[in-house]
Amino acid sequence: MIWQLDLVILTFVIFCGIGAITIKDLLGAAILFGAYSFMMSLLWAIMGAVDVSFTEASVGAGVSSILFVAAVFRTTRRTKD
């Protein structure tokens, strides 16, 4: 594995995570959470955890995001924080 790549993606992960909880739009937050999960799965793939990475890519980035979007569709997009 290449530690420079690892570090860059780790930074991305952290920024996506912070972005997901600060953005003032729940749909945007859901999408950023998807990006966060996807970056995370990349990170794990780099670390050799291929099965975990595969699961996170399908569960975290795929289905979780859809579930968030569905919940936001049924509630509201607006948020105060």
Partner: protein, 256 residues
């Protein structure tokens, strides 16, 4: 003892239990993917409960959100397919079932985007085949029941998004989904119980050798495949039911 360095091959985590798995998986189960072997055999009992967690989540979602009765004040929309005229029928009324030229539509109905629907129709079979490949090929490559099941579930969700929820429900109704996730988890627990009946411990797949007519090591490999299929079915159905529930807020009619 200090905190082991990152990636240290001599840390206790890498030297105590896990070398056994790495060195003996092939002899014990003849499965090259060590993660699959540990997941479904050495620690198969955990995985059974993991499936049970998924099952509980599906049941919990149904229990919390599902609305069994329609309110009398609800209304339905019907669209005359030839002309595009929309009817709104109030107070729980229905259109006569023989009136085939009307289709029921959502309150937020918009004409279907042809591109999305066609792309969906085109891509869904490939996703499903890939999902089945992932389930079946979990012994040799990354993948297995969970990943494949989630992808299979995602293909149904994609169908529900690219068309509408009602047509997805026509293909894959609530009862069918419920059947699938009960069947999936029972397949897992049932395999385990079968091992007890055959005289071994719970989930000891080598006992299956007597009915599968193979040697115990191959029987373990087959046992892993069986439970992975069970997991795949259960996870697929639960993902679909979670989506149905959340997107229709428990009413199972209108959705994204």
């Amino acid at each position: 003892m200090a905190f082991p360095g990152w990636g240290d091959p001599l840390s206790p985590a890498s030297t105590h239990v896990s070398p056994y798995y790495i060195e003996n998986t092939i002899e014990d189960t003849s499965v090259p993917n060590i993660v699959t072997a540990v997941l479904a055999d050495y620690r198969g009992y955990d995985t059974m409960f993991e499936t049970a967690v998924i099952f509980s989540a599906g049941i919990a979602c149904l229990f919390l959100l599902r609305r069994m009765k329609r309110k009398k004040t609800d209304f339905r929309h019907y669209r005359h397919m030839a002309t595009g005229i929309t009817l709104r029928i109030e107070q729980g009324g229905k259109i006569h079932p023989t009136a085939k030229e009307f289709e029921r539509i959502d309150g937020l109905w918009v004409p279907h985007d042809l591109i999305i629907r066609t792309t969906g129709r085109f891509i869904i079979p490939f996703i499903q085949i890939f999902a089945l490949y992932v389930i079946a090929h979990g012994h040799y490559s990354p993948g297995g029941g969970f990943q494949g099941g989630v992808i299979l579930g995602a293909s149904f969700i994609l169908f529900a998004i690219s068309n509408d929820l009602r047509s997805a429900l026509n293909r894959m109704g609530e009862r069918l989904t419920a059947f699938f996730y009960t069947a999936g988890v029972s397949l897992y627990a049932g395999t385990g119980a079968l091992c007890i009946l055959l005289g071994a411990n719970f989930l000891d797949y080598s006992a299956l050798a007597t009915i599968l007519l193979v040697d115990p090591v191959t029987a373990r490999s087959y046992g892993i495949l069986i439970v992975e299929i069970g997991v795949g079915i259960a996870v697929m159905a639960v993902m679909v039911i979670l989506y149905y529930n959340l997107v229709s807020a428990g009413k199972f009619d209108e959705g994204l």
